[in-house]
């Protein structure tokens, strides 16, 4: 039993390491694609790794108190928790994580847990821009949670289970079994929510670079920042894998996982580079209007079947 637990922990560590590396590399590739859209060459794809390594080796780091310390830790715990309760590759022991222990509602909770922890930490930093960004971030978060939750409820009704593994299993056997085709309305609602979650334009008011420098992490220097950046890679992949599992048929090998998550993020990026930014009240109104209605219709349709 003890051996099994240690093996499980070892597998989880490998799986986290692979996904962090993949997430950061994806971030670098996407930054380069974005640069090409703008007519630039852009930074090398390994730039995120360099940035993290540099920040990790800064010689000093200031702190503003206990909660300031805990903010990045909560954020990282949120990323870890989200990833560790999702079965990354269907049928694989190495990438199964702890999917037997939690279901989709636990994962949904973890997605928002990190943001709340970060809000407390950044709040103690005392920078006015952090405060503004947190207010916007939490407002937008509660807005896109509505269509996302509706989409999730719709597929829970559709497959009659809370377990992500079973949802993936139900989608096996060809592309037409994917939720994307069996429940397109839920997919659309959730995809719009994913835009908000990834803070792509038009929903990037939270980190609005030209307006409130970089949002919540304004005050976090050095090692705190490198922790947040590492989490950015992991959390990004966790969200993409969750979406892949729920709507795009999951993955049977790690290469299919890389391909599918990359395409999902690329679709995200295309929308991100094409649209200007919503103001926060416009974003909230938008989330509570069209995606919410689509989500409700998706639930009704599935309940009538």
């Amino acid at each position: 039993m003890t051996t099994q637990i240690f093996i499980k922990i070892g597998y989880a560590c490998i799986s986290i390491a692979v996904m962090v590396a993949y997430g950061l590399l994806t971030g670098g590739v996407m930054a380069r694609i974005r640069a090409r859209v703008y007519g630039r060459y852009g930074a090398p794809v390994w730039q995120p790794f360099l940035d993290i390594f540099k920040n990790l080796n800064k010689r000093t780091a200031i702190s503003h108190g206990m909660m300031f310390y805990l903010g990045p830790i909560f954020r990282f715990a949120g990323g870890l928790g989200t990833y560790l309760f999702i079965p990354a590759v269907f049928g694989s022991v190495l990438f199964a994580n702890f999917s037997g222990a939690g279901d989709i509602f636990l994962v949904m909770y973890f997605i928002f847990f990190g943001q709340l922890g970060m809000a407390l930490g950044a709040g103690e930093g005392g920078h006015p821009y952090s405060g503004i960004a947190i207010a916007r971030g939490l407002a937008q978060m509660s807005a896109f949670e509505v269509p996302f939750a509706l989409a999730v409820i719709s597929i829970v009704v559709q497959y009659d289970t809370f377990s992500i593994t079973e949802i993936v299993a139900a989608q096996q056997g060809g592309i037409l079994h994917w939720t994307m085709f069996t429940n397109p309305l839920a997919t659309i609602a959730a995809f719009i929510a994913l835009l908000g979650m990834n803070m792509q334009s038009p929903f990037d008011i939270v980190i609005a670079p030209q307006e409130i420098p970089i949002g919540p992490p304004t005050e976090f220097p050095s090692q705190f920042l490198s922790m947040l950046q590492t989490n950015r890679g992991l959390f990004l992949v966790a969200k993409l894998i969750l979406f892949m599992n729920l709507f795009y048929g999951g993955a049977t090998s790690v290469w299919i996982l890389f391909l599918k998550t990359f395409i999902i993020y690329l679709a995200n990026l295309f929308i991100g580079v094409s649209f200007p930014r919503y103001r926060i009240e416009q974003a909230i109104k938008f989330f509570l209007k069209y995606p919410t209605i689509i989500g409700i219709i998706a639930i009704i349709l599935m309940a009538m079947k």
């Binding site: 640069a35 540099k54 010689r59 000093t60 304004t218």
Partner: protein
């Protein structure tokens, strides 16, 4: 480099009720890592240059095009970072009036060690055309340690990128130790700063 003892700064210009809101620790020089690790870290530092996008003078107008498609400084790992806490370089964008100098010092001291200074334009080197102005300082390196000067009035974006590359060489060679220099000669810099800034209503060290 030996680490100095924790020394308390007087913060005498602050009001008594404000004093406990600010830190009163002196900056201390931080020793390098071992030889090979420091080389590796310096390589990473040189290839990930985040500069404080804070236009301190007219030379800053030439910094904006750095990020555009034409010059694209991102290629070299140079990126603007809008907060002093996270950036490693402060660009002095040309002449510094006494009022701006105060902000430059505040921003510089908030940055984390190691930090580098690039000084643009003639004005920050010898005063340039403001050499006899009553409210413009002539030599920026009396107030903060400068790593690289870029001359011109104003230097073109290509020249600024060349300056960044010069700084990269300095960092890789392990010569860019401005933050430690500032901490070691803290009294000298502070005396110079206080001589020129009359309304010093901030803590002695803006951590």
């Amino acid at each position: 480099m030996k680490e100095k003892k924790y020394d308390i700064l007087p913060n005498s210009e602050l009001k008594a009720e404000d004093r406990d809101l600010f830190c009163d620790a002196r900056p201390v020089p931080v020793s390098k890592l071992n030889k090979y690790m420091e080389k590796l870290v310096n390589w990473a530092r040189a290839n990930s240059l985040w500069f404080l996008a804070f236009g301190t003078g007219c030379g800053a107008v030439e910094v904006r095009p750095l990020m555009t498609a034409r010059f694209d400084a991102y290629r070299y790992g140079i990126a603007g970072r809008p907060t002093p806490r996270q950036s490693g370089i402060i660009l002095i964008g040309g002449y510094a009036s006494v009022k701006t100098l105060k902000r430059i010092i505040r921003s510089y001291e908030q940055m984390q060690n190691p930090k580098f200074v690039i000084s643009l334009c003639s004005c920050s080197i010898n005063g340039g055309m403001y050499f006899d102005s009553y409210n413009t300082i002539n030599q920026i390196d009396k107030y903060i340690p400068v790593d690289v000067y870029i001359t011109g009035c104003m230097p073109r974006p290509e020249a600024i990128i060349a300056g960044f590359n010069k700084l990269k060489d300095r960092i890789k060679a392990g010569n860019a130790e401005g933050a430690n220099k500032y901490a070691e000669n803290f009294d000298y810099y502070k005396a110079n700063q206080k001589k020129i800034i009359k309304d010093w209503n901030m803590p002695d060290y803006n951590w």
